[in-house]
Amino acid sequence: MSSRILTKTLSGTVSQATKRATSSRVRCMATESGELRKTRLYDFHVENGAKMVPFAGYSMPLAYGSVGAVASHHHVRKSAGLFDVGHMVQSNFLGPTATQFLEWVTPSGLAALKPYASTLSVLLNETGGIIDDTVITKHAEDAFYVVTNAGRRDRDLAWFKEKVAEWNKTDLAKKEGGVEHEVLEDWGLLALQGPEAAQFLQTYTSYDLKELTFVCLRFPDECSQISIPPSETTEVAKLLSKGPVLLTGLGARDSLRLEAGMCLYGQDLNEDITPIEAGLTWVIPKARRETGNFIGAEGVRKHLKEGPPRRRVGLIVEGAPARQGAPIFHPTTKEPLGTVTSGIPSPTLSQNIAMGYVSSGFHKKNTELLAEVRGKSRNAKIVGMPFVPTNYYRGSA
Protein backbone atom coordinates (compact mmCIF):
# COMPACT_ATOMS: atom_id res chain seq x y z
CA MET A 1 0.00 0.00 0.00
CA SER A 2 2.75 2.34 0.99
CA SER A 3 3.49 3.22 -2.54
CA ARG A 4 0.43 2.84 -4.60
CA ILE A 5 -0.34 6.48 -4.84
CA LEU A 6 1.15 7.51 -8.14
CA THR A 7 -0.71 7.34 -11.39
CA LYS A 8 0.04 8.21 -14.96
CA THR A 9 -0.73 11.80 -14.17
CA LEU A 10 2.43 12.14 -12.15
CA SER A 11 4.75 10.57 -14.68
CA GLY A 12 3.27 12.85 -17.29
CA THR A 13 3.67 15.86 -15.08
CA VAL A 14 7.21 15.05 -14.13
CA SER A 15 8.49 14.38 -17.60
CA GLN A 16 7.10 17.63 -18.82
CA ALA A 17 8.21 19.38 -15.70
CA THR A 18 11.90 18.59 -15.94
CA LYS A 19 13.22 20.19 -19.05
CA ARG A 20 10.57 22.82 -19.13
CA ALA A 21 10.43 23.10 -15.37
CA THR A 22 10.19 26.80 -15.55
CA SER A 23 8.42 28.78 -12.93
CA SER A 24 5.84 29.65 -15.54
CA ARG A 25 4.85 26.01 -15.64
CA VAL A 26 4.72 25.92 -11.87
CA ARG A 27 2.47 28.91 -11.88
CA CYS A 28 0.36 27.29 -14.53
CA MET A 29 -0.09 24.30 -12.24
CA ALA A 30 -1.18 26.56 -9.43
CA THR A 31 -3.89 27.99 -11.63
CA GLU A 32 -5.01 24.54 -12.62
CA SER A 33 -5.08 23.47 -9.00
CA GLY A 34 -8.08 25.77 -8.59
CA GLU A 35 -10.13 23.02 -10.21
CA LEU A 36 -8.33 20.25 -8.38
CA ARG A 37 -9.46 18.64 -5.17
CA LYS A 38 -7.45 19.37 -2.06
CA THR A 39 -6.76 17.13 0.88
CA ARG A 40 -7.22 18.53 4.38
CA LEU A 41 -3.47 19.12 4.46
CA TYR A 42 -3.26 21.43 1.43
CA ASP A 43 -2.50 24.55 3.50
CA PHE A 44 -0.09 22.59 5.68
CA HIS A 45 1.85 21.51 2.58
CA VAL A 46 2.01 25.05 1.20
CA GLU A 47 3.17 26.40 4.58
CA ASN A 48 5.94 23.81 4.48
CA GLY A 49 7.17 24.96 1.09
CA ALA A 50 5.65 22.19 -0.99
CA LYS A 51 5.65 22.31 -4.74
CA MET A 52 2.07 21.28 -5.49
CA VAL A 53 1.28 19.35 -8.67
CA PRO A 54 -1.91 17.89 -10.10
CA PHE A 55 -2.13 14.21 -9.31
CA ALA A 56 -5.11 11.85 -9.65
CA GLY A 57 -7.45 14.86 -9.60
CA TYR A 58 -5.84 16.32 -6.50
CA SER A 59 -3.28 19.02 -5.89
CA MET A 60 -0.54 17.07 -4.11
CA PRO A 61 3.00 17.83 -2.90
CA LEU A 62 5.75 16.74 -5.32
CA ALA A 63 8.61 17.82 -3.02
CA TYR A 64 9.12 20.21 -0.12
CA GLY A 65 11.36 23.29 -0.13
CA SER A 66 14.79 22.72 -1.58
CA VAL A 67 14.97 19.05 -0.57
CA GLY A 68 15.32 17.17 -3.84
CA ALA A 69 13.53 13.91 -4.58
CA VAL A 70 16.76 11.92 -4.29
CA ALA A 71 17.77 13.40 -0.92
CA SER A 72 14.24 12.82 0.28
CA HIS A 73 14.36 9.22 -0.95
CA HIS A 74 17.59 8.54 0.95
CA HIS A 75 16.16 10.09 4.10
CA VAL A 76 13.18 7.72 4.10
CA ARG A 77 15.51 4.77 3.46
CA LYS A 78 17.68 5.55 6.47
CA SER A 79 15.29 7.41 8.77
CA ALA A 80 11.62 8.27 8.27
CA GLY A 81 9.28 10.23 6.02
CA LEU A 82 5.67 11.35 6.31
CA PHE A 83 3.42 11.21 3.26
CA ASP A 84 -0.03 12.70 2.79
CA VAL A 85 -2.09 9.97 1.15
CA GLY A 86 -5.38 11.64 2.04
CA HIS A 87 -6.37 11.67 -1.63
CA MET A 88 -6.89 7.92 -1.47
CA VAL A 89 -10.43 6.67 -0.98
CA GLN A 90 -11.19 5.32 2.51
CA SER A 91 -14.28 3.16 2.92
CA ASN A 92 -16.03 1.09 5.55
CA PHE A 93 -18.02 -2.02 4.71
CA LEU A 94 -20.39 -2.81 7.53
CA GLY A 95 -23.00 -5.49 8.07
CA PRO A 96 -23.52 -9.09 9.16
CA THR A 97 -22.41 -10.47 5.77
CA ALA A 98 -19.50 -8.04 5.21
CA THR A 99 -16.92 -10.85 5.21
CA GLN A 100 -18.81 -12.89 2.61
CA PHE A 101 -19.45 -9.79 0.48
CA LEU A 102 -15.78 -8.81 0.39
CA GLU A 103 -14.80 -12.42 -0.32
CA TRP A 104 -17.05 -12.13 -3.37
CA VAL A 105 -15.70 -8.82 -4.71
CA THR A 106 -12.09 -9.80 -3.94
CA PRO A 107 -10.24 -13.13 -4.05
CA SER A 108 -8.80 -12.61 -0.54
CA GLY A 109 -9.21 -14.86 2.48
CA LEU A 110 -10.86 -12.46 4.89
CA ALA A 111 -12.63 -14.91 7.19
CA ALA A 112 -9.20 -16.14 8.29
CA LEU A 113 -7.83 -12.62 8.85
CA LYS A 114 -7.38 -11.64 12.51
CA PRO A 115 -9.08 -8.48 13.80
CA TYR A 116 -7.04 -5.34 12.96
CA ALA A 117 -4.87 -7.23 10.52
CA SER A 118 -4.55 -5.96 6.94
CA THR A 119 -4.01 -7.56 3.58
CA LEU A 120 -3.19 -6.40 0.07
CA SER A 121 -6.00 -7.33 -2.26
CA VAL A 122 -7.44 -6.69 -5.70
CA LEU A 123 -10.86 -5.85 -7.10
CA LEU A 124 -11.41 -7.97 -10.19
CA ASN A 125 -13.75 -7.47 -13.12
CA GLU A 126 -15.82 -10.32 -14.58
CA THR A 127 -12.91 -11.56 -16.69
CA GLY A 128 -10.38 -11.47 -13.85
CA GLY A 129 -8.75 -8.15 -14.84
CA ILE A 130 -7.66 -5.87 -12.01
CA ILE A 131 -10.06 -2.95 -11.44
CA ASP A 132 -7.89 -1.68 -8.61
CA ASP A 133 -5.48 -2.84 -5.95
CA THR A 134 -6.48 -2.18 -2.38
CA VAL A 135 -5.61 -2.76 1.25
CA ILE A 136 -8.32 -4.31 3.38
CA THR A 137 -8.23 -4.10 7.17
CA LYS A 138 -10.52 -6.25 9.23
CA HIS A 139 -11.94 -4.61 12.31
CA ALA A 140 -14.40 -7.44 12.95
CA GLU A 141 -16.39 -10.06 11.02
CA ASP A 142 -18.94 -7.39 10.22
CA ALA A 143 -16.66 -4.36 9.80
CA PHE A 144 -13.88 -3.80 7.29
CA TYR A 145 -11.86 -0.70 6.39
CA VAL A 146 -10.79 -0.53 2.74
CA VAL A 147 -8.41 1.90 1.03
CA THR A 148 -8.49 2.26 -2.77
CA ASN A 149 -6.66 4.46 -5.27
CA ALA A 150 -7.64 8.08 -5.88
CA GLY A 151 -7.13 7.63 -9.63
CA ARG A 152 -9.75 4.87 -9.63
CA ARG A 153 -12.25 6.67 -7.43
CA ASP A 154 -15.12 6.88 -9.93
CA ARG A 155 -14.69 3.36 -11.28
CA ASP A 156 -14.36 1.80 -7.80
CA LEU A 157 -17.24 3.66 -6.19
CA ALA A 158 -19.60 2.83 -9.06
CA TRP A 159 -18.48 -0.81 -8.86
CA PHE A 160 -19.03 -0.96 -5.10
CA LYS A 161 -22.47 0.61 -5.43
CA GLU A 162 -23.49 -1.87 -8.10
CA LYS A 163 -22.10 -4.88 -6.25
CA VAL A 164 -23.54 -3.92 -2.84
CA ALA A 165 -26.99 -3.54 -4.44
CA GLU A 166 -26.61 -6.93 -6.12
CA TRP A 167 -25.38 -8.53 -2.90
CA ASN A 168 -28.21 -7.17 -0.79
CA LYS A 169 -30.69 -8.90 -3.09
CA THR A 170 -29.19 -12.33 -2.47
CA ASP A 171 -30.92 -14.87 -0.24
CA LEU A 172 -27.96 -14.85 2.16
CA ALA A 173 -28.11 -11.08 2.62
CA LYS A 174 -31.89 -11.17 3.02
CA LYS A 175 -31.64 -13.92 5.61
CA GLU A 176 -28.59 -12.79 7.60
CA GLY A 177 -28.48 -9.08 6.84
CA GLY A 178 -26.99 -6.94 4.07
CA VAL A 179 -23.92 -4.78 3.67
CA GLU A 180 -23.57 -1.03 3.86
CA HIS A 181 -20.80 0.89 2.12
CA GLU A 182 -19.68 4.14 3.71
CA VAL A 183 -17.03 6.46 2.22
CA LEU A 184 -14.94 8.37 4.77
CA GLU A 185 -15.06 11.62 2.79
CA ASP A 186 -12.45 14.20 3.70
CA TRP A 187 -10.75 12.04 6.32
CA GLY A 188 -7.02 12.39 6.56
CA LEU A 189 -4.65 9.56 5.71
CA LEU A 190 -0.96 9.72 6.47
CA ALA A 191 1.77 7.18 5.78
CA LEU A 192 4.80 7.15 8.04
CA GLN A 193 7.57 5.15 6.47
CA GLY A 194 11.17 4.25 7.16
CA PRO A 195 13.31 2.29 9.64
CA GLU A 196 12.89 4.95 12.34
CA ALA A 197 9.15 5.36 11.79
CA ALA A 198 7.88 2.72 14.20
CA GLN A 199 10.09 3.84 17.06
CA PHE A 200 9.13 7.45 16.48
CA LEU A 201 5.46 6.60 16.48
CA GLN A 202 5.92 4.66 19.71
CA THR A 203 7.02 7.82 21.50
CA TYR A 204 3.70 9.42 20.68
CA THR A 205 0.98 6.85 20.91
CA SER A 206 0.91 6.62 24.71
CA TYR A 207 0.50 10.22 25.69
CA ASP A 208 0.70 13.02 23.15
CA LEU A 209 -1.93 11.71 20.85
CA LYS A 210 -4.36 10.60 23.52
CA GLU A 211 -6.59 13.59 22.94
CA LEU A 212 -6.76 12.79 19.25
CA THR A 213 -8.73 10.17 17.44
CA PHE A 214 -6.92 8.19 14.82
CA VAL A 215 -6.45 4.69 13.57
CA CYS A 216 -2.94 3.44 13.03
CA LEU A 217 -2.21 0.47 10.84
CA ARG A 218 1.21 -1.12 10.59
CA PHE A 219 2.45 -2.74 7.44
CA PRO A 220 5.43 -5.01 7.09
CA ASP A 221 7.30 -2.63 4.80
CA GLU A 222 8.37 -0.23 7.55
CA CYS A 223 5.19 1.67 6.93
CA SER A 224 2.39 2.77 9.20
CA GLN A 225 -0.82 4.29 7.93
CA ILE A 226 -2.77 6.68 10.06
CA SER A 227 -6.39 7.45 9.34
CA ILE A 228 -7.63 10.66 10.95
CA PRO A 229 -11.02 12.39 11.21
CA PRO A 230 -11.16 15.63 9.15
CA SER A 231 -10.96 18.08 12.07
CA GLU A 232 -7.78 16.61 13.51
CA THR A 233 -5.77 15.84 10.39
CA THR A 234 -3.55 18.92 10.42
CA GLU A 235 -2.78 18.60 14.12
CA VAL A 236 -1.70 14.97 13.73
CA ALA A 237 0.37 15.84 10.66
CA LYS A 238 2.16 18.58 12.65
CA LEU A 239 2.94 16.18 15.48
CA LEU A 240 4.18 13.46 13.18
CA SER A 241 6.44 15.66 11.07
CA LYS A 242 8.86 16.35 13.90
CA GLY A 243 12.16 14.85 14.98
CA PRO A 244 13.72 12.60 12.38
CA VAL A 245 10.58 12.61 10.22
CA LEU A 246 10.67 14.70 7.07
CA LEU A 247 7.68 15.55 4.92
CA THR A 248 8.04 13.59 1.71
CA GLY A 249 6.40 14.18 -1.64
CA LEU A 250 5.23 12.15 -4.60
CA GLY A 251 8.63 12.19 -6.30
CA ALA A 252 10.38 10.17 -3.60
CA ARG A 253 7.31 8.02 -3.12
CA ASP A 254 7.53 6.78 -6.71
CA SER A 255 11.22 5.88 -6.53
CA LEU A 256 10.70 4.17 -3.15
CA ARG A 257 7.77 2.09 -4.35
CA LEU A 258 9.57 1.02 -7.48
CA GLU A 259 12.66 -0.06 -5.53
CA ALA A 260 10.29 -2.08 -3.36
CA GLY A 261 8.90 -3.73 -6.51
CA MET A 262 5.39 -2.46 -5.78
CA CYS A 263 2.87 -1.84 -8.52
CA LEU A 264 1.37 1.48 -9.40
CA TYR A 265 -2.17 1.20 -10.72
CA GLY A 266 -2.51 2.74 -14.17
CA GLN A 267 1.10 1.95 -15.02
CA ASP A 268 1.84 -1.57 -13.84
CA LEU A 269 -1.75 -2.73 -13.39
CA ASN A 270 -4.91 -2.28 -15.44
CA GLU A 271 -8.17 -4.02 -16.22
CA ASP A 272 -6.58 -6.24 -18.90
CA ILE A 273 -4.10 -7.73 -16.46
CA THR A 274 -4.98 -10.59 -14.13
CA PRO A 275 -3.38 -10.96 -10.69
CA ILE A 276 -1.59 -14.08 -11.99
CA GLU A 277 0.13 -12.08 -14.74
CA ALA A 278 0.90 -9.32 -12.26
CA GLY A 279 2.69 -11.72 -9.91
CA LEU A 280 -0.01 -11.17 -7.29
CA THR A 281 -1.12 -14.80 -7.09
CA TRP A 282 -0.05 -14.74 -3.45
CA VAL A 283 -2.95 -12.43 -2.55
CA ILE A 284 -5.32 -15.33 -3.36
CA PRO A 285 -5.21 -18.08 -0.73
CA LYS A 286 -5.07 -21.64 -2.01
CA ALA A 287 -8.54 -22.55 -0.77
CA ARG A 288 -10.04 -19.63 -2.64
CA ARG A 289 -8.26 -20.56 -5.88
CA GLU A 290 -9.94 -23.96 -5.58
CA THR A 291 -13.47 -22.86 -4.68
CA GLY A 292 -13.37 -19.94 -7.12
CA ASN A 293 -16.41 -18.25 -5.60
CA PHE A 294 -15.36 -14.69 -6.33
CA ILE A 295 -15.91 -12.27 -9.22
CA GLY A 296 -13.40 -12.90 -12.00
CA ALA A 297 -12.53 -16.41 -10.79
CA GLU A 298 -12.81 -17.96 -14.23
CA GLY A 299 -10.10 -15.78 -15.75
CA VAL A 300 -7.88 -16.22 -12.72
CA ARG A 301 -8.23 -20.00 -12.72
CA LYS A 302 -7.58 -20.19 -16.46
CA HIS A 303 -4.28 -18.37 -16.00
CA LEU A 304 -3.45 -20.54 -12.99
CA LYS A 305 -4.15 -23.73 -14.91
CA GLU A 306 -2.65 -22.87 -18.31
CA GLY A 307 -0.08 -20.41 -17.11
CA PRO A 308 -0.42 -16.68 -17.82
CA PRO A 309 0.53 -15.49 -21.33
CA ARG A 310 2.78 -12.78 -19.89
CA ARG A 311 4.32 -12.01 -16.55
CA ARG A 312 5.42 -8.97 -14.61
CA VAL A 313 9.19 -8.95 -14.15
CA GLY A 314 11.90 -6.76 -12.68
CA LEU A 315 14.69 -5.54 -14.97
CA ILE A 316 18.10 -3.95 -14.59
CA VAL A 317 18.79 -1.84 -17.69
CA GLU A 318 22.28 -0.76 -18.78
CA GLY A 319 23.01 2.79 -19.93
CA ALA A 320 19.86 4.86 -20.28
CA PRO A 321 16.95 4.10 -17.96
CA ALA A 322 14.04 2.38 -19.72
CA ARG A 323 10.85 4.07 -18.61
CA GLN A 324 7.14 3.46 -19.08
CA GLY A 325 6.38 2.37 -22.63
CA ALA A 326 9.87 1.19 -23.61
CA PRO A 327 9.52 -1.92 -25.80
CA ILE A 328 11.30 -5.13 -24.75
CA PHE A 329 12.90 -7.37 -27.39
CA HIS A 330 14.62 -10.71 -27.73
CA PRO A 331 18.39 -10.06 -28.00
CA THR A 332 18.96 -12.18 -31.10
CA THR A 333 15.63 -12.67 -32.90
CA LYS A 334 14.52 -9.07 -32.08
CA GLU A 335 11.05 -10.49 -31.51
CA PRO A 336 8.92 -8.09 -29.42
CA LEU A 337 8.42 -9.68 -26.00
CA GLY A 338 6.76 -6.99 -23.94
CA THR A 339 6.83 -3.46 -22.55
CA VAL A 340 8.29 -1.61 -19.59
CA THR A 341 5.55 -0.22 -17.33
CA SER A 342 7.68 1.71 -14.80
CA GLY A 343 11.37 2.56 -14.77
CA ILE A 344 13.81 4.89 -13.04
CA PRO A 345 17.45 5.19 -12.12
CA SER A 346 17.36 3.74 -8.61
CA PRO A 347 18.76 6.24 -6.09
CA THR A 348 19.71 3.43 -3.70
CA LEU A 349 21.34 1.07 -6.21
CA SER A 350 22.69 3.60 -8.72
CA GLN A 351 21.41 1.26 -11.42
CA ASN A 352 18.46 1.62 -13.77
CA ILE A 353 15.58 -0.46 -12.49
CA ALA A 354 12.35 -1.16 -14.30
CA MET A 355 9.33 -3.38 -14.18
CA GLY A 356 7.30 -4.54 -17.11
CA TYR A 357 5.53 -7.45 -18.71
CA VAL A 358 7.21 -10.08 -20.91
CA SER A 359 5.87 -13.18 -22.65
CA SER A 360 5.88 -16.27 -20.48
CA GLY A 361 9.03 -18.28 -21.01
CA PHE A 362 11.21 -15.17 -21.04
CA HIS A 363 10.42 -14.25 -17.45
CA LYS A 364 13.06 -16.29 -15.63
CA LYS A 365 15.70 -14.55 -13.52
CA ASN A 366 18.94 -13.69 -15.33
CA THR A 367 17.30 -13.82 -18.78
CA GLU A 368 19.09 -11.30 -21.00
CA LEU A 369 16.76 -9.14 -23.08
CA LEU A 370 16.85 -5.74 -24.78
CA ALA A 371 14.89 -2.61 -23.93
CA GLU A 372 14.64 0.17 -26.47
CA VAL A 373 15.24 3.74 -25.32
CA ARG A 374 15.03 6.55 -27.91
CA GLY A 375 15.65 4.09 -30.73
CA LYS A 376 18.68 2.47 -29.13
CA SER A 377 18.75 -1.04 -27.70
CA ARG A 378 19.92 -1.37 -24.11
CA ASN A 379 20.80 -4.60 -22.34
CA ALA A 380 18.10 -5.53 -19.86
CA LYS A 381 18.45 -8.42 -17.45
CA ILE A 382 15.59 -9.93 -15.50
CA VAL A 383 16.07 -9.81 -11.74
CA GLY A 384 13.93 -10.63 -8.74
CA MET A 385 11.93 -8.02 -6.88
CA PRO A 386 12.06 -6.16 -4.58
CA PHE A 387 15.09 -4.45 -6.08
CA VAL A 388 15.91 -3.10 -2.62
CA PRO A 389 14.81 -5.22 0.34
CA THR A 390 13.06 -3.46 3.20
CA ASN A 391 14.04 -4.06 6.80
CA TYR A 392 10.89 -5.67 7.98
CA TYR A 393 9.39 -4.25 11.12
CA ARG A 394 8.41 -7.23 13.24
CA GLY A 395 6.75 -5.37 16.11
CA SER A 396 3.23 -6.04 17.29
CA ALA A 397 0.67 -5.25 14.66
Binding site: S15, T18, T22, R374
Partner: protein, 161 residues
Protein backbone atom coordinates in the same frame (compact mmCIF):
# COMPACT_ATOMS: atom_id res chain seq x y z
CA UNK B 1 28.22 39.10 -18.33
CA UNK B 2 29.87 36.06 -19.79
CA UNK B 3 31.66 38.26 -22.31
CA UNK B 4 33.14 40.25 -19.52
CA UNK B 5 34.49 37.14 -17.83
CA UNK B 6 36.07 35.92 -21.04
CA UNK B 7 37.61 39.30 -21.76
CA UNK B 8 39.12 39.67 -18.33
CA UNK B 9 40.51 36.13 -18.54
CA UNK B 10 42.18 37.08 -21.80
CA UNK B 11 43.82 40.14 -20.43
CA UNK B 12 45.09 38.14 -17.47
CA UNK B 13 46.66 35.70 -19.88
CA UNK B 14 48.20 38.52 -21.80
CA UNK B 15 49.88 39.90 -18.71
CA UNK B 16 51.16 36.49 -17.70
CA UNK B 17 52.37 35.72 -21.21
CA UNK B 18 54.62 38.71 -21.34
CA UNK B 19 56.33 37.60 -18.14
CA UNK B 20 56.80 34.01 -19.24
CA UNK B 21 59.81 32.66 -21.09
CA UNK B 22 59.30 32.57 -24.85
CA UNK B 23 59.10 28.74 -25.04
CA UNK B 24 55.86 28.57 -23.05
CA UNK B 25 52.94 28.54 -25.44
CA UNK B 26 50.72 31.52 -24.97
CA UNK B 27 47.01 30.92 -25.37
CA UNK B 28 46.99 34.00 -27.51
CA UNK B 29 49.46 32.65 -29.99
CA UNK B 30 46.80 30.92 -32.05
CA UNK B 31 45.04 34.20 -32.68
CA UNK B 32 47.78 36.75 -32.22
CA UNK B 33 46.03 39.71 -33.70
CA UNK B 34 42.35 38.74 -33.82
CA UNK B 35 40.06 39.89 -31.12
CA UNK B 36 37.12 37.52 -31.39
CA UNK B 37 33.62 38.08 -30.24
CA UNK B 38 32.22 35.41 -27.98
CA UNK B 39 28.47 35.49 -27.51
CA UNK B 40 26.35 33.49 -25.13
CA UNK B 41 22.71 32.92 -25.99
CA UNK B 42 19.88 30.88 -24.52
CA UNK B 43 16.84 28.90 -25.70
CA UNK B 44 13.38 28.71 -24.17
CA UNK B 45 14.18 25.07 -23.36
CA UNK B 46 17.15 26.02 -21.19
CA UNK B 47 19.98 25.18 -23.53
CA UNK B 48 22.80 27.68 -23.83
CA UNK B 49 25.24 28.17 -26.69
CA UNK B 50 28.57 29.94 -26.46
CA UNK B 51 29.42 31.11 -29.96
CA UNK B 52 32.86 32.19 -31.04
CA UNK B 53 32.68 34.13 -34.32
CA UNK B 54 36.34 33.44 -35.10
CA UNK B 55 35.83 29.68 -35.31
CA UNK B 56 32.16 29.65 -36.20
CA UNK B 57 31.65 27.02 -33.53
CA UNK B 58 29.10 27.10 -30.72
CA UNK B 59 29.51 25.15 -27.50
CA UNK B 60 26.15 23.75 -26.41
CA UNK B 61 25.29 23.32 -22.72
CA UNK B 62 22.24 23.13 -20.52
CA UNK B 63 21.87 26.05 -18.16
CA UNK B 64 22.44 25.99 -14.43
CA UNK B 65 18.74 26.62 -14.03
CA UNK B 66 17.99 23.48 -16.05
CA UNK B 67 20.37 21.28 -14.08
CA UNK B 68 18.90 22.42 -10.78
CA UNK B 69 15.38 21.57 -11.88
CA UNK B 70 16.50 18.24 -13.35
CA UNK B 71 18.12 17.03 -10.15
CA UNK B 72 20.85 14.39 -10.16
CA UNK B 73 21.77 13.55 -13.74
CA UNK B 74 22.58 9.86 -14.21
CA UNK B 75 22.89 9.55 -17.97
CA UNK B 76 23.55 11.82 -20.92
CA UNK B 77 22.87 10.85 -24.52
CA UNK B 78 24.71 12.87 -27.15
CA UNK B 79 24.58 13.05 -30.96
CA UNK B 80 27.21 11.36 -33.15
CA UNK B 81 30.05 13.56 -34.34
CA UNK B 82 29.36 14.62 -37.92
CA UNK B 83 25.58 14.74 -37.49
CA UNK B 84 23.98 17.61 -39.38
CA UNK B 85 21.32 19.20 -37.21
CA UNK B 86 18.65 21.82 -37.66
CA UNK B 87 17.73 24.33 -34.99
CA UNK B 88 15.14 22.66 -32.73
CA UNK B 89 16.08 19.05 -33.66
CA UNK B 90 16.31 16.62 -30.79
CA UNK B 91 20.02 15.91 -30.48
CA UNK B 92 20.14 13.98 -27.24
CA UNK B 93 18.68 13.52 -23.79
CA UNK B 94 19.50 14.00 -20.16
CA UNK B 95 18.22 11.43 -17.70
CA UNK B 96 17.69 12.18 -14.04
CA UNK B 97 15.78 10.19 -11.42
CA UNK B 98 12.75 12.33 -12.17
CA UNK B 99 12.59 11.96 -15.92
CA UNK B 100 14.18 11.89 -19.35
CA UNK B 101 14.53 15.34 -20.86
CA UNK B 102 15.25 15.95 -24.51
CA UNK B 103 18.03 18.22 -25.63
CA UNK B 104 17.25 20.33 -28.69
CA UNK B 105 19.81 21.86 -31.03
CA UNK B 106 19.90 25.58 -30.23
CA UNK B 107 21.41 26.27 -33.65
CA UNK B 108 21.73 24.56 -37.06
CA UNK B 109 25.01 23.11 -38.21
CA UNK B 110 27.33 20.14 -37.92
CA UNK B 111 28.28 18.41 -34.67
CA UNK B 112 32.08 18.70 -34.53
CA UNK B 113 32.79 17.30 -31.09
CA UNK B 114 30.95 15.78 -28.13
CA UNK B 115 31.91 15.80 -24.45
CA UNK B 116 32.97 12.18 -23.97
CA UNK B 117 33.58 12.73 -20.26
CA UNK B 118 29.82 12.83 -19.69
CA UNK B 119 29.50 9.14 -20.55
CA UNK B 120 31.51 8.21 -17.47
CA UNK B 121 30.76 11.28 -15.35
CA UNK B 122 27.19 12.39 -16.04
CA UNK B 123 27.26 14.22 -12.68
CA UNK B 124 29.50 16.87 -14.30
CA UNK B 125 26.30 18.23 -15.74
CA UNK B 126 25.17 19.13 -12.22
CA UNK B 127 28.56 20.29 -10.95
CA UNK B 128 29.50 22.47 -13.87
CA UNK B 129 26.63 22.61 -16.36
CA UNK B 130 27.80 25.61 -18.34
CA UNK B 131 31.56 24.91 -18.40
CA UNK B 132 32.94 21.37 -17.79
CA UNK B 133 29.60 19.70 -18.39
CA UNK B 134 29.27 21.05 -21.95
CA UNK B 135 27.38 18.74 -24.30
CA UNK B 136 28.67 19.23 -27.83
CA UNK B 137 30.23 21.68 -30.24
CA UNK B 138 28.26 22.66 -33.32
CA UNK B 139 29.75 24.44 -36.34
CA UNK B 140 27.00 26.84 -37.28
CA UNK B 141 25.69 26.77 -40.83
CA UNK B 142 24.22 30.22 -40.30
CA UNK B 143 25.90 32.43 -37.74
CA UNK B 144 22.92 34.78 -37.83
CA UNK B 145 20.82 32.15 -36.06
CA UNK B 146 22.55 33.03 -32.82
CA UNK B 147 20.76 36.37 -32.80
CA UNK B 148 17.38 34.63 -32.74
CA UNK B 149 18.16 33.31 -29.26
CA UNK B 150 17.76 35.06 -25.92
CA UNK B 151 20.53 37.11 -24.37
CA UNK B 152 21.45 36.96 -20.72
CA UNK B 153 18.87 39.50 -19.55
CA UNK B 154 16.07 37.94 -21.61
CA UNK B 155 16.90 34.47 -20.33
CA UNK B 156 16.98 35.64 -16.73
CA UNK B 157 13.55 37.15 -17.24
CA UNK B 158 12.38 33.90 -18.88
CA UNK B 159 13.46 31.91 -15.79
CA UNK B 160 11.81 34.31 -13.36
CA UNK B 161 8.69 34.66 -15.45
Amino acid sequence: MFNAIRQSARSANLVRATRRPANVASPLRAFPSVRTLVTKRYTQDHEAVVFDDATGVGIVTVTDYAQSSLGDVVFVELPAVGTVVKQGDQIGAVESVKAASDIYAPVSGTVKEINETLSTQPGLLNKSPEIDGWLCKIELSDAQEITSLMDDAAYKAHCEH
